[in-house]
C-alpha cells in the first residue's frame, strides 16, 4: 500500500474563496451568519452563506454546488502545481487515466429543480434535471479520467470522499485524486430541518451550554491527494500526509445519534489502528461539533473515552461555529483545516463560544488560536443516518 500526501487545497466558503483569507478568518474567530427568508418558512432563519463566489463565463446556468466545486477544485489544482505543469497549459491535468476524483454530495444542484418547481427556470436542458452530476462535470472540466465517485453519506460525505480518494491511490488505482465536498443551500432541506425542530434560531454554537441545534452553511472544500511517489517525482510541496480512517455505522435511528457513542468510538479506534498510532500521538482534534444538543454531548463523551487522562491536553475545535453545517462539504472542510493546522501548528478557536456546556468537558479552543505540539490531527465526521468516520492526518 502506497503512502498518500496532500498537495493542494482550495475553498469556496462563507469566510472567503481563497485558502489564506479563509484561514486568517478562522484564526480570528470570525463568523458571519446571515438571516435569510425562505419561501414558505415562517421566519427568517440563520444561514452561513457563500457570497460572490467566482463563476466562470458559461457556468452561470449551473447549480451552485457545482459552481462552488469547480472554483474550489480549480484553486486546489493551481495550489498543487498540477494544472500549471500540464502540457496543454490549461486546467486539464496530464495523465488522464491516472487522475480521478471523489466528491461528497448532499443535495447537489437541487437549486435547479427548486427553480423548475417554482417557475423561475423553464430552460433546463440536457442533464440539468440530474442534481448529483458535480463529479462528472469536474472530471470533464479538468480532464480527470481515473476513478470517479460521488459519495453521499450526508453530513460525513466530504470526509468519506477524502478517505475513498486516499484508498484509491493507496490501492494503486490512481496517482492523483481530487477529493472534497460541496453543498449549496437547499429549500426542502431547510424545510425538513425546520419541521423537525433541529435548527438553532440564532447561530451554530457547538459545545455551548445554550445550543439549540445546527444551522445550515454552504460552500466547497477540495483537496488534491497524490501518491508520495508521484508528488516527489515532480517536486510538489506537501501540505500534510494521509494516515488512515476508521468507518462505522450507528444503525440506530434516522436522525438521532446513538447516545451510547459505541460506533463513534469504534470509528476513532479503527482510525488509529489504520494510522498505526495511539491517542498519545494526537495533537489536536477537528470535531464534528454541530451545535445539536445530542451530537455535541455524544462526541464529547466519545473523545473523553478516547483520550482518557490526556483529555485536557488535546486542543479541540468546532469549525461549524464559523462555517455553519455545510452538509456534504463539512467533512472536507474539516480535512482541509486539519491540513492547515499541521502546516501552521495552530488550532483555530471555536467562534463566538459564550459558555461551554459543563457536560462537554473537552479542551475547546476559544477566543484565540492555540499552539499544538508535534503530532497528528484527528478529524471526526458523523451523519444523519449514522454514517461515522474518523480520520488522521500527519505532518508532511
Amino acid at each position: 500500500m502506497g503512502e498518500v500526501v496532500i498537495t493542494g487545497l482550495g475553498v469556496v466558503s462563507p469566510l472567503g474563496h481563497d485558502v489564506e483569507s479563509f484561514w486568517q478568518a478562522l484564526l480570528a474567530g470570525t463568523a458571519r451568519p446571515r438571516r435569510v427568508t425562505t419561501a414558505g418558512l415562517p421566519q427568517p432563519a440563520p444561514l452561513y452563506s457563500v457570497l460572490d463566489h467566482p463563476v466562470a463565463d458559461g457556468d452561470a446556468g449551473l447549480g451552485r454546488a457545482t459552481q462552488f466545486a469547480l472554483a474550489a477544485a480549480g484553486s486546489a489544482l493551481r495550489d498543487s502545481g498540477l494544472s500549471e505543469a500540464s502540457r496543454s497549459g490549461t486546467m486539464m491535468v496530464d495523465g488522464a487515466d491516472g487522475c480521478g476524483l471523489s466528491i461528497g454530495i448532499g443535495t447537489g444542484d437541487g437549486d435547479l429543480l427548486e427553480a423548475r418547481r417554482d417557475g423561475r427556470r423553464t430552460d433546463l436542458t440536457d442533464l440539468d434535471w440530474w442534481q448529483y452530476g458535480t463529479a462528472g462535470t469536474l472530471a470533464h472540466r479538468f480532464g480527470l479520467h481515473g476513478p470517479n465517485l460521488t459519495v453521499a453519506t450526508a453530513c460525513s460525505a466530504g470526509a468519506y470522499a477524502v478517505a475513498t480518494a486516499a484508498e484509491a491511490i493507496a490501492d494503486g488505482e490512481a496517482d492523483v485524486m481530487l477529493a472534497g465536498g460541496t453543498e449549496g443551500v437547499s429549500r426542502p432541506a431547510m424545510a425538513a430541518f425546520a419541521r423537525l425542530g433541529a435548527g438553532d434560531p440564532e447561530r451554530c454554537r457547538p459545545f455551548d451550554a445554550d445550543r439549540r441545534g445546527t444551522v445550515y452553511g454552504e460552500g466547497a472544500a477540495v483537496l488534491v491527494l497524490e501518491s508520495e511517489e508521484h508528488a516527489a517525482a515532480r517536486g510538489a510541496r506537501v501540505h500534510a500526509r494521509w494516515l488512515g480512517s476508521g468507518w462505522s455505522c450507528d444503525g440506530h435511528h434516522p436522525t438521532a445519534p446513538d447516545a451510547s457513542g459505541e460506533q463513534a468510538l469504534r470509528a476513532a479506534a479503527a482510525a488509529m489502528t489504520a494510522a498505526g498510532c495511539a491517542p498519545a500521538d494526537v495533537a489536536a482534534v477537528i470535531c464534528h461539533g454541530t451545535g445539536t444538543p445530542l451530537n455535541d454531548a455524544v462526541e464529547s463523551r466519545t473523545m473523553a473515552r478516547v483520550f482518557g487522562d490526556r483529555l485536557a491536553e488535546v486542543p479541540m475545535t468546532a469549525i461549524k461555529a464559523a462555517l455553519g453545517h455545510s452538509g456534504a462539504a463539512a467533512g472536507a472542510f474539516a480535512c482541509l483545516v486539519a491540513g492547515l493546522v499541521l502546516t501552521h501548528r495552530q488550532v483555530p478557536p471555536t467562534a463566538e463560544l459564550d459558555r461551554i456546556d459543563p457536560d462537554c468537558a473537552l479542551r475547546i479552543v476559544r477566543e484565540r488560536p492555540a499552539a499544538t505540539g508535534d503530532g497528528h490531527v484527528l478529524v471526526n465526521a458523523y451523519a444523519f443516518g449514522g454514517n461515522n468516520i474518523s480520520l488522521l492526518l500527519g505532518a508532511a
Binding site: R117, D118, W130, T150, A152, A154, A192, W247, A383
Partner: protein, 317 residues
C-alpha cells in the same frame, strides 16, 4: 486494475415494483418509509436470509448502496408542500427522507449492520460502483460481509432521455451479499458466483479517445476475452464504447448490449441477480456506462471456477 480479492456472492435479493412489504417486513415499521426504501429493506432481508447470515456478526456487516432516484419523489413532495402551504403542510415523518443516505441507513438500522454504510450516486452506474466499493472494503478488513447493490425510486422528470421509457413505477432494489470466498467455504454456505475484480473510470468525450479508454480498461480488467460480456448503455446508446466492447469480446457468442436503464442504477443489479446462476466457465464481464461517462467494469466467475488458472493477467496486485 483493482483486484477485489476473490469475493463470493452468497445471497441476493431482487425486488421490483410489485411487492407487498407486509409479507417480508411484518406488520409495522415500514409504512412511513418511501417505496424505494421499502424495496431496499425487502431486498436486504432476502439477501441476508439467502446467505444464512445469522452466522455472521451483524456489527461486522457493511452496506454499500448506489442510488439515483430513491428520494426524488419525497424531496419533490416536501418542496411542493412548502410552496403550497408552508411548514404545516409537511409531514414530519417524511422529513428525514430528504437525505439520500437514508434508504441505505434504514437497511443498517433494521438489521443492525454496523461495519459501515455508504451511499453512492453516479448516474446509472452507482449500483455496480457500490459492488466494487463493498468488495474493496471487504478486502481491507473493514467488514466480514457486505450488502451491496442499488435501491431505486421513481425517476425525475427528464430522466427518460437516459433511462429510456419509465418502467419503474415506484421502487426497485437489487442487493448482493458478498463475503470473502474462504469464509464462505468455511461457513459451508452456497456460493452463487465469485467476483474477481473491477474498475472505475470516467471516459473522455471524444469518440476515438473514448473507445481507446474503454479498451484499455477492459484489458486491465482481464487479459483474455471473457465467456460473456454484458454491456449496459444509456438509452441513446454509445457507438464508441459498444464497438470497443464488442471487439474486445471477439467475434463469437456471449456478447449482449442493453440500451436504457428503466430502473436507473438498479437495472444492472436486477439483471445480475438473474444472471448469476448462468455465469459461464470463462467468466462474465459486466460493463455499465453512464451518460456522464462513468464506466464500471466487474469480472465474475462461476462458483466452481478459479479464474486465475485460465487467465494469467487477472492475478491480483
Amino acid at each position: 486494475m483493482m483486484g477485489a480479492g476473490v469475493c463470493a456472492i452468497t445471497g441476493l435479493g431482487a425486488v421490483r415494483d410489485e411487492f407487498d412489504p407486509a409479507v417480508h417486513l411484518g406488520r409495522k415499521g415500514w409504512r412511513f418509509l418511501p417505496r424505494a426504501t421499502q424495496a431496499g429493506l425487502v431486498a436486504a432481508k432476502l439477501a441476508l436470509e439467502g446467505a444464512a447470515s445469522t452466522d455472521v456478526v451483524a456489527e461486522r456487516v457493511g452496506v454499500a448502496v448506489g442510488t439515483n432516484f430513491a428520494i426524488s419523489e419525497i424531496s419533490d413532495e416536501i418542496d411542493r408542500a412548502l410552496l403550497r402551504g408552508g411548514l404545516a403542510e409537511i409531514s414530519p415523518m417524511g422529513c428525514p427522507n430528504f437525505s439520500i443516505n437514508l434508504p441505505a441507513s434504514q437497511v443498517s438500522m433494521n438489521h443492525r449492520l454496523r461495519a459501515f454504510n455508504i451511499t453512492l450516486l453516479s448516474l446509472l452506474t452507482a449500483g455496480p460502483e457500490a459492488i466494487l466499493l463493498g468488495a474493496r472494503a471487504l478486502r481491507a478488513g473493514r467488514a466480514d460481509a457486505v450488502l451491496v447493490g442499488a435501491i431505486e425510486g421513481r425517476a425525475e422528470a427528464g430522466a427518460e432521455a437516459v433511462c429510456g421509457p419509465p418502467a419503474l413505477d415506484s421502487g426497485a432494489a437489487g442487493l448482493l451479499h458478498l463475503e470473502r470466498l474462504d469464509r464462505a467455504l468455511e461457513r459451508g454456505v452456497q456460493v452463487l458466483a465469485t467476483l474477481h475484480g473491477g474498475l472505475n473510470r470516467l471516459l473522455p468525450v471524444e469518440p476515438g479517445r473514448r473507445a481507446t479508454s474503454a479498451t484499455t480498461a477492459l484489458r486491465q480488467l482481464t487479459g483474455g476475452a471473457p465467456g460473456a460480456t454484458q454491456l449496459f448503455l444509456p438509452a441513446g446508446g454509445d457507438d464508441a464504447v459498444e464497438t470497443a466492447a464488442r471487439q474486445f469480446h471477439g467475434d463469437r457468442e456471449g456478447f449482449a448490449v442493453v440500451r436504457g436503464a428503466a430502473q436507473a442504477s438498479a437495472t444492472s443489479l436486477l439483471w445480475l441477480a438473474d444472471a448469476l446462476a448462468r455465469v459461464p466457465a470463462a467468466g462474465l464481464v459486466l460493463a455499465v456506462l453512464g451518460p456522464q461517462g462513468h464506466f464500471i467494469l466487474l469480472r465474475f466467475a462461476s462458483e466452481g471456477q478459479n479464474a486465475g488458472s485460465t487467465d494469467p493477467a487477472s492475478a491480483e496486485q
